[in-house]
């Protein structure tokens, strides 16, 4: 049955985003900003609740939305990431309305992408997501760096979108349908014709641009650096997770485009980690790290060996490893960006700006330590289990060489993660060039500590976290 109720999660987000724009015109104060923050958080929570209640209806809304408990799990993960971003992002009172509205639109794009039913929905979701992000990146429109970053992102993501649309058109020309289910049947029924191969190839290039997978990663460091720190966190976490989620229904492509996908994955893992080595600016380091992490996620994708599940399986396989990793990586990287934003206000943060903060701001620094350790995938952080699950899925699928490349990549990557820690803790504060630390509300600090604590505590009970990701089933 097709009913408006099935798109309630999306409806709540878009209506409340517009509502927030209207409300924000009423007043222009700090308390208004807090009100908007809470309204946005409530909107996301409401959307999450409606997701749970409308879950499991299958393919609805003219085939645009695929609502199973599997897609609901992913959407909930993405919404919780966006909720974290909404609650922690620092913003000035006079621009709060736009900021939160854009974050809600980003959340909308993420939810659309996490439960796509056809190719048009993929395009729609990616555009909603990207357009909000263009604005978020260049949000400090008086700063040249910020504008340049926004334009870079606009142009390159635009190229990506062009590939995506043209690829979709070629796919439609081959199979006469945009529905993913029909495309899957078509792709599995007969060897793929050249036109289809080409179409899906362009589709993957488009997605590769959005994901910043090597060789389409060049924009990432510039954009991450130019964006306000919390916006960069959103690009790295929720936006990336949503794009991977949109790719998941296309697992049948592993039959025809296996080589392309493994190359994308391997190249991202190697290049992302290598390029990070010589970087001296923190946000660029995290950008390269996110390129590498896309490689790990694609490694998990390449390890998929079964049809899309209706719900997350109780045991760990490639599907659950990917969803688990989106959650784990998302919170680690978003937390890292948030912590950096809480340590330094300026847009460009070099490693030298972190000198001695381990002593002057011990709590936030300790949180950053935890997030960085989790990104590096060291034990005693949930990032370790995320990586273990992904790599073991790859081992199990027989992708041994690719998994070993990934392991080596993460060993290389450790170098730049450690550099952050060294600059944070092992240089005395006197070496620090004067930089202002932003004021930070207790609530945001508490949220940051709670997330860091979660990353450590869940590393002892990864099964329990997975149980939560599955929605407690």
């Amino acid at each position: 049955m097709t009913s408006w109720i099935n798109v309630l999660p999306e409806a709540i987000l878009s209506v409340s985003a517009l509502g927030i724009l209207i409300i924000s015109t009423l007043a222009n104060s700090g308390s208004m900003r807090d009100l908007l923050r809470w309204l946005s958080a409530i909107a996301i929570a409401a959307s999450a609740v409606s997701l749970v209640y409308t879950s499991g209806t299958g393919l609805t809304s003219y085939g645009w939305v695929q609502s199973t408990s599997f897609t609901t799990s992913i959407a909930l993960v993405l919404l919780s990431l966006m909720g974290f971003a909404v609650l922690t992002s620092p913003v000035k009172a006079d621009t709060a309305g736009e900021w939160f509205a854009l974050l809600l639109f980003t959340a909308l794009g993420s939810v659309v992408l996490s439960r796509v039913g056809n190719l048009a929905a993929v395009f729609l979701g990616i555009e909603v997501l990207s357009i909000s992000l263009y604005v978020l990146v260049s949000f400090r429109y008086t700063s040249r760096i910020s504008l340049r970053g926004g334009v870079t992102y606009l142009v390159l993501a635009g190229v990506g979108s062009a590939f995506l649309v043209f690829g979709s058109a070629l796919i439609f020309a081959t199979y006469g349908s945009l529905d993913i289910a029909e495309l899957q049947t078509g792709a599995l029924a007969a060897p793929m014709p050249l036109l289809g191969m080409f179409g899906y190839g362009m589709f993957l290039v488009g997605v590769g641009f959005k994901l910043a997978a090597t060789p389409f990663h060049m924009w990432a460091p510039d954009v991450y650096e130019a964006a306000p720190t919390s916006a960069a966190g959103v690009i790295a976490s929720a936006s990336k997770g949503a794009t991977v989620a949109a790719l998941l229904p296309f697992a049948f492509l592993l039959n025809s485009h296996f080589l392309v996908l493994t190359l994308l994955s391997g190249a991202s893992m190697v290049i992302g980690n290598l390029l990070g080595l010589r970087e001296t600016r923190v946000k660029r380091i995290l950008a390269y790290s996110s390129v590498a992490h896309v490689g790990y996620l694609l490694l998990g994708f390449a390890a998929i060996r079964s049809a899309t599940p209706e719900a997350l399986p109780a045991t760990m396989d490639a599907w659950s490893a990917i969803v688990f990793y989106i959650a784990v990586y998302g919170f680690s990287v978003l937390g890292a960006f948030t912590a950096i934003g809480a340590l330094r206000t300026q847009t460009v943060v070099s490693l030298n700006d972190l000198h001695g903060l381990g002593r002057t701001k011990p709590v936030t620094s300790a949180c950053l330590l935890v997030f960085v350790v989790s990104l590096a995938g060291l034990p005693l952080s949930i990032g370790f289990w995320g990586k273990i699950y992904l790599f073991s899925a790859a081992f199990q699928a027989g992708l041994i060489k690719l998994a070993i490349i990934g392991l080596m990549g993460s060993a290389i990557g450790l170098f730049y993660y450690m550099r952050i820690l060294v600059h944070l803790y092992m240089v005395s504060p006197e070496m620090n060039p004067r930089g202002e630390a932003p004021e930070q509300s207790n609530f945001q600090t508490a949220l940051l500590i709670a997330t860091a604590a979660g990353i450590v505590v869940f590393s002892f009970f990864p099964d329990f976290l997975y149980y939560l990701v599955r929605g407690g089933q």
Binding site: L188, L254, R305, L378, F391, L407, M418, M426, F461, P462
Partner: protein, 513 residues
């Protein structure tokens, strides 16, 4: 009791942080109390493990078959005891040396103890790996934050080497894990389960290489030792003491506890090569040690040489060699700890470690000189110390392996004598340098620490059976027995299922056809 060994340092960390809020001495005292309590428990554990194996096994992460499985046989128990003892020493040594950020220093120290204890006790591969990695971050800070010289660089190098090594180890572990799933269908990292997996010789080759690189870095085995040159000398005294005394033993322990039992055929294949590598390490370390101008660097290389000697005993794979290896692990842990302690004391007083700026200290500090003389002799294998018996056992086993190896091993003792004497004479004999300022002799704290180390070494030298006797008893050291009699073991499970895990999973590619 096993859990208690892990819990005490963790609770100690909490108390250290709380006490550190009052003042620095509070943190020191809290950490010291915690480490003494651990020592007590470790002693009780050793007393118990002397009679029978102490075990604990709980399923921890069901979906992945990770067990919280700890087991203390005699070898593990003795090494845990050594760890607890050296942690006490590390805290005592740092009492005056560490003046900045005292609380966090002790927190890292106790966390390191937890990691090492897990490594020595773990009976589950994943738990072992967690403990192994848990050692990295504390060590990064112990070297990088409280070290001397190019400390950040040294810390970095250490972390990169160890972590890269452990990645290879992890790959081997995951491979074994999936082979086990392929055979039994049940995920399990429990070592008892993994040990039943029979691998083909090619698979063993790869698995063994992974473990060898992982453990070889830590021990260190010859070509993988380059991080040591920086990390040992530039760490704080406590850091050097733990690195050489305990952390190097984790590498040796991993080799005979995991690598060799898990891939016996590959080990048999590599054995001659590994023996020569260890032999080369002994001489290489000794020669370079002699050429050093820095006390701590000299001790670092001598430690490298001695650990290679221990590895020689392990690789020879006879009962005698193994007993000698274990005995030498303990004795070397104690003697090298003492040497680093003295080097730290000298550096603390004079702010230099160069032989060029030292000399003639016997006149002003006879007590320290006497201690140095004793421990230098101990490290070259003075009869009456544990080092002598350990070396003797290893040389005897080397002789029974091949006379050339035996002869070379005996020659190595001579080499050790040369650099040990240089260490002593360079500091305490000869003319005093003009720059020498007031040099107080050892104080009561240092006397107490050094005397207790000396007593322990003599005790081991006079009664080596304290350590070695239970090694002969299969009831208390099943792991050791399994290791030394591997070649006689019958095949435990005939391997019938040769399908790889990947092939058993139906993929979309199959569906397509």
């Amino acid at each position: 009791m096993l859990t208690l060994l892990l819990l005490i340092p963790l609770i100690g960390i909490v108390f250290t942080i709380l006490a550190g809020r009052v003042n620095a001495t509070g943190a020191r005292v809290a950490a010291l109390i915690s480490s003494v309590l651990s020592l007590q428990v470790a002693y009780l554990l050793a007393a118990k493990a002397r009679v029978q194996v102490v075990e604990l096994d709980r399923l921890w992460i069901p979906s992945f078959g990770v067990h919280f499985a700890l087991r203390a046989d005699w070898v593990s128990a003795v090494l845990v005891l050594l760890t607890a003892l050296l942690t006490v020493f590390a805290i005592a040594v740092s009492w005056k040396e560490i003046k900045e950020r005292v609380t966090s220093f002790h927190v890292w120290l106790l966390l390191l103890q937890v990691g090492v204890t897990i490594v020595f006790l773990a009976r589950d591969l994943m738990l072992f790996y967690l403990g192994w990695e848990l050692m990295i971050i504390p060590m990064l800070f112990l070297i990088g934050s409280w070290g001397t010289g190019r400390k950040e660089y040294s810390a970095f190098k250490f972390v990169l080497f160890t972590f890269t090594g452990s990645i290879f180890m992890l790959a081997s572990m995951l491979y074994l894990f999936y082979r086990n799933i392929g055979i039994t269908g049940v995920p399990s990292f429990h070592l008892d389960q993994i040990l039943t997996v029979q691998l083909s010789s090619t698979e063993q080759w790869w698995v063994f290489m992974g473990f060898l690189i992982g453990f070889g870095v830590k021990a260190p085995l010859l070509p993988l030792h380059t991080w040591l040159t920086d990390a040992y000398p530039n760490a704080s005294t406590a850091g050097s003491l733990l690195l050489s005394g305990v952390l190097s033993k984790t590498g040796v322990f991993g080799l005979f506890n995991l690598a060799i039992p898990l891939a016996p055929d590959a080990f048999a294949l590599f054995r001659p090569f590994l023996i020569w590598l260890a032999m080369a390490g002994v001489f290489y370390g000794a020669c370079i040690a002699f050429n050093q101008r820095d006390i701590k660097r000299l001790i670092a290389y001598s430690s490298f040489s001695h650990v290679s000697f221990i590895l020689l005993g392990i690789f020879i794979k006879s009962d005698l060699g193994f007993q000698g290896g274990v005995l030498q692990m303990i004795s070397h842990g104690l003697s090298t700890a003492a040497l680093f302690l003295i080097a730290g004391a000298i550096q603390d007083r004079l702010n230099t470690r160069e032989f060029a700026n030292l000399g003639g200290l016997w006149r002003v500090a006879p007590a320290m000189g006497a201690f140095m003389l004793f421990f230098a002799f101990a490290s070259l294998g003075l009869p009456g110390t544990g080092n002598f018996v350990g070396e003797l056992y290893i040389i005897a086993s080397a002789l029974s392996y091949h006379w050339i190896i035996g002869a070379l091993a005996s020659l190595a003792v001579l080499f050790a004598a040369i650099y040990s004497l240089k260490l002593f004479t360079g500091i305490f004999h000869g003319p005093e340098p003009a720059s020498l300022t007031a040099f107080p002799d050892t104080d009561n704290r240092e006397n107490l620490l050094l005397t207790s180390l000396a007593v322990l070494l003599i005790l081991l030298g006079l009664f080596p059976s304290l350590v070695t006797a239970p090694l002969k008893n299969a009831g208390t050291t099943p792991a050791a027995t399994a290791y030394s009699t591997l070649h006689q073991q019958p095949t435990m499970i005939a391997m019938t299922d040769t399908t790889t895990p990947a092939a058993t999973v139906a993929g979309p590619r199959e569906e397509a056809r």
